[in-house]
Amino acid sequence: MAGNKGRGRASFTFNIEAIGFARGEKLPDVVLKPPPLYPDTDYKPVPLKAGEAEEYMLALKQEFRATMKRTPYFMDTEEEKQEIERYSKRYLKNYKEDDLEWIPDWRRLPREMMPRKKLEWLWPSCYYKLVNESNLYQDLEKKGDEEKSDEETDEKEGGKGKRKDNDDDDDDEAADEQEEYDEEEQEEENDYINSYFDNGDDFGAESDDNMDEATY
C-alpha cells in the first residue's frame, strides 16, 4: 500500500478513460465497510399476485403448518412444560392433542431404529457381571421371557412420551405391529454387543461425559 502512495494514475496498467473516468477526474473512495444490512432499493418491489388461487394456497400453507405441529411427527424440546398448569391451558389441550399416535412400520426401517426399552431394567444390576459371567446370556434370555408378557403392554404405553391411549383406527395396525416387534426383539436380544452399547446410552443420556464413554 505504502509503495503505491503518490503514484496516482500511474498505478493502473490500462487506460483509465476506457472505464469511464475523464482525465483528471477523482476516483471513487475505497470502500472499507460492508454494505448496509438493509440497502436502499432504487425500485420498489411489485405487489404480490392476488387472487382466489393465491389465497387458497396461503390458507393451505398456514393450515398445513399448524396441522404438522399437532402430528406425532413433531418433536419439540421439553422445555415448554410448565410446573403449574394454567387453568386456561386446559381448554387448549384437547384442541391440541386430538391426533393419533404413530407406530412406524419397523419392517421398512433398519433394525437399529427400534427402541429397545425392554432390557433397560437389567442394566444397572448386571453391568459388572456382564464383563465376567459367561452364562449371563442365558439369564438375560430367561428373564426376558418371563417379563415379556407383563411388560409388554406397560412398555408400549409408557415407551414414548407422545403416545396416548386413544381408540383410533390404528388399533388393528398396532396389534399387527406388536407381533412383528416382538419377533424382531427376540433376535435383538441375541445381539449381545448391541444391547450393551444401547443401554449405556440410555443410562448416561443425562450427562455428556457418560454419553461419550458409552458411545465409545
Binding site: 490500462f14 487506460n15 393451505l60 402430528t71 411427527y73 418433536m75 393419533l100 421398512r108
Partner: protein, 535 residues
C-alpha cells in the same frame, strides 16, 4: 449445497417437525451420510431422540438409508427433497383443481404423513369429508378410493419401494441390519386389487352410520381390529416429479396463450396431454405426434378444421421461440414440443424481468442486448443500447458486479496486457440462473425468519387470543348467555385487536411471498436441471 439452502432446510424442518428433527436433519445435510452412532455422538442428542427423529425423517422420505460394508447402516438427508416442503401448498391446490376436494385431501394426507397405505388414506379422507358434510350424510369409501385410483392412473401418487419378502430359509443366516427396498417399475402405479375385497366390509360400516346418527369422529372398530389390513406394507407417496411436470406443462400452455392466442395454447395443451405419460418428466422433447393424431385428440366441442389446425401447427413451428418443432413430414407432419427450449425461454423471461424490476428498464435493455448478441465489447454495448456512454458503463458494471453479466478476456498477445486484450461481455444464463436461485433460497429463509420474529414478538398476545377463543368456544358449547360471551370477548382490548390484525396481515403477506418466491424457484430450477441433463 449452499449455505442459503442449508439454512432454509433447517428452518423448514424446524417449522414442520420441531427442534430435534431440525438438529438431526441439518447435521445430516452438513455432513453427508452418517451412521447412527456418529449422529448421536456429534449432535449430543440422546439415542432415543435421534432414533425417533430419523424415523420421522425416513417416514417423510427426507432421509434414506443404505447398508455399507461391515453392515453399518448410513443415513443420508436429501436437501432438495426437504426444500420441496415449500411447494406443498401448490401440490395440494393442484390436486384440488384436478380432482376436487377428495383429491385435495388425499394428497394432503399423503404429504402430512409422508407415506401411507391406501386403506389408511381412504379411511382418513372419508372421515374428514364426512366431518365437513351435513348431519346424516357420509362419504362413501368407494368414492374416495376411485379418486385415489384416478390419481394413481395419472401417476400423481405412486407406490413406495417395497420390503422384499423374507426368504423361507431365513434362520440359516442372520437378517441384514436394514431391509433393501426395491420396486418393479411396472408396479409403481398399480393399485392393489386386494383392497377391493376389504372395501365392501368397510362400506357396510359406513352405510350403518348413514342409517343411524352421524358417525362419531373415530368409530371404535373392535370387530375389524382383528382382521388383517388388506394392503399391509404397500405404501403410497405423492409423486412430486409428476406434479412438477404438470406445473411445467401449465406454464408452457399459458406462455403460448400469451404469445399467440387461446386456440394455439389449446393445441399445445392437447399435445402435452397426449404425451403426458409416454414422455418421461426429464426428456428434452415430447414423443413426435402427427397432426392427424393431434386432430383426433383435440377436446370435443373445439371446432377447428384439420386445415386450420395444420396452419396453427405451421405457425407454432415457425415461431422464433421454438416451443413446437417439426420433426418429420409423415402422417401429415410430425410435431414435437421442445420442452428444454420452452423451459429455457421461461427462465430467460424470468431473468429479464428480475433485472427489469431490480435495476430498471434501461439496465434491462442492456441485459437483453447482451443476452441476444451473445458477446459484446463495451463500446458496442454503449452504441447498440443507445444509452449515453457514461450511464451505459455504469449500468454494465453494476450488472457485472451483481454477477448477472460476466466478462470474458481474449488477449491478443500472450502477456495479457489490457491494452491488447478484448473484453467481451456476455450473459452466462446457467450461472446467472443459479445465482438467482441461491438468492431466492436466501429470500425465503429471510421471510421465514421475519415471520417467526413477528410471531415471537407477539407471542403473549397470540396466546391470549387463543385462550379467549378457546374459552368462548367451550362457553358456547355449554350454552352460555349472550352477555357472558360478550364479556369474555371484551377481554381483548381494542388496541390489542388492532395489533392482532396488523400481525395477521404481516404474517399473511410473508407467507404469500414465500409461496410466490417458490414459483420463481420452480422455473429456475427446472431450467438448470434440464440444462444439466442435456450436458
Amino acid at each position: 449445497m449452499t449455505q442459503a439452502e442449508i439454512k432454509l432446510c433447517s428452518l423448514l424442518l424446524q417449522e414442520h417437525f420441531g427442534e430435534i428433527v431440525d438438529k438431526i436433519g441439518t447435521h445430516l445435510i452438513r455432513t453427508g451420510s452418517q451412521p447412527l452412532r456418529a449422529i448421536v455422538h456429534d449432535t449430543g442428542t440422546s439415542l432415543d431422540q435421534v432414533k425417533k427423529a430419523l424415523c420421522v425423517l425416513i417416514q417423510h422420505n427426507l432421509v434414506t438409508y443404505q447398508i455399507h460394508k461391515r453392515g453399518v447402516v448410513e443415513y443420508e438427508a436429501h436437501c432438495s427433497r426437504i426444500l420441496r416442503i415449500l411447494r406443498y401448498p401448490r401440490y395440494i391446490y393442484t390436486a384440488k383443481t384436478l380432482y376436487s376436494d377428495t383429491g385435495e385431501l388425499i394428497v394432503e394426507e399423503l404429504l402430512l404423513n409422508g407415506k401411507m397405505t391406501m386403506s389408511a388414506v381412504v379411511k382418513k379422507v372419508a372421515d374428514r369429508l364426512t366431518e365437513t358434510m351435513e348431519d346424516g350424510k357420509t362419504m362413501d369409501y368407494s368414492e374416495v378410493s376411485s379418486t385415489f385410483c384416478r390419481l394413481a392412473d395419472t401417476h400423481f401418487v405412486q407406490r413406495c419401494p417395497l420390503v422384499p419378502d423374507p426368504p423361507e430359509s431365513a434362520d440359516a443366516q442372520p437378517p441384514p441390519p436394514a431391509p433393501t427396498l426395491s420396486i418393479n417399475e411396472k408396479d409403481m402405479y398399480l393399485v392393489p386389487k386386494l383392497n377391493l375385497v376389504g372395501k365392501g366390509k368397510r362400506r357396510r360400516s359406513s352405510d350403518d352410520d348413514a342409517a343411524g346418527e352421524p358417525r362419531p369422529k373415530r368409530p371404535k372398530q373392535t370387530a375389524e381390529s382383528k382382521e388383517p389390513i388388506p394392503d399391509d406394507g404397500i405404501y403410497w407417496q405423492a409423486d412430486l416429479d409428476r406434479f412438477h411436470q404438470h406445473f411445467r406443462d401449465q406454464s408452457i400452455v399459458s406462455a403460448v396463450a400469451n404469445r399467440m392466442d387461446q386456440t394455439s395454447s389449446e393445441i399445445v395443451r392437447t399435445m402435452l396431454r397426449m404425451s403426458e405419460i409416454t414422455t418421461s418428466s426429464c426428456a428434452p422433447f415430447t414423443q413426435p405426434l402427427s397432426s392427424n393424431e393431434i386432430f383426433r385428440s383435440l377436446p370435443v366441442g373445439y371446432n377447428i378444421s384439420k386445415q386450420v389446425l395444420d396452419q396453427y401447427l405451421t405457425l407454432l413451428a415457425d415461431d422464433p421461440l421454438e416451443f413446437v418443432g417439426k420433426s418429420g413430414d409423415s402422417g401429415g407432419g410430425m410435431y414435437v414440443i421442445n420442452l428444454h427450449k420452452a423451459l429455457a425461454s421461461l427462465a430467460m423471461a424470468t431473468l429479464e424481468s428480475i433485472v427489469q424490476e431490480r435495476f430498471g428498464s434501461r439496465c434491462a435493455r442492456i441485459f437483453r442486448l447482451v443476452l441476444r448478441k451473445k458477446h459484446l465489447e463495451q463500446k458496442q454495448v454503449e452504441d447498440f443500447a443507445m444509452i449515453p456512454a457514461k450511464e451505459a458503463k455504469d449500468m454494465l458494471y453494476k450488472l457485472l458486479s451483481e454477477n448477472l453479466i460476466s466478462l470474458q478476456e481474449i488477449p491478443k498477445t500472450p502477456d495479457h496486457a489490457p491494452s491488447r486484450t478484448f473484453y467481451l461481455y456476455t450473459v452466462n444464463s446457467l450461472s446467472a440462473a443459479r445465482m438467482l436461485l441461491r438468492r431466492c433460497y436466501k429470500s425465503i429463509a429471510n421471510l421465514i425468519e421475519r415471520r417467526q420474529f413477528e410471531t415471537k414478538e407477539n407471542k403473549r398476545l397470540l396466546e391470549k387470543s387463543q385462550r379467549v377463543e378457546a374459552i368462548l368456544a367451550s362457553m358456547q358449547a355449554t350454552g352460555a348467555e349472550e352477555a357472558q360471551l360478550q364479556e369474555i370477548e371484551e377481554m381483548i382490548t381494542a388496541p390489542e385487536r388492532q395489533q392482532l390484525e396488523g400481525l395477521k396481515r404481516n404474517v399473511n403477506k410473508l407467507d404469500a411471498s414465500e409461496i410466490q418466491v417458490d414459483e420463481t424457484i420452480f422455473v429456475l430450477e427446472s431450467y438448470t436441471e434440464s440444462t444439466m441433463k442435456r450436458a
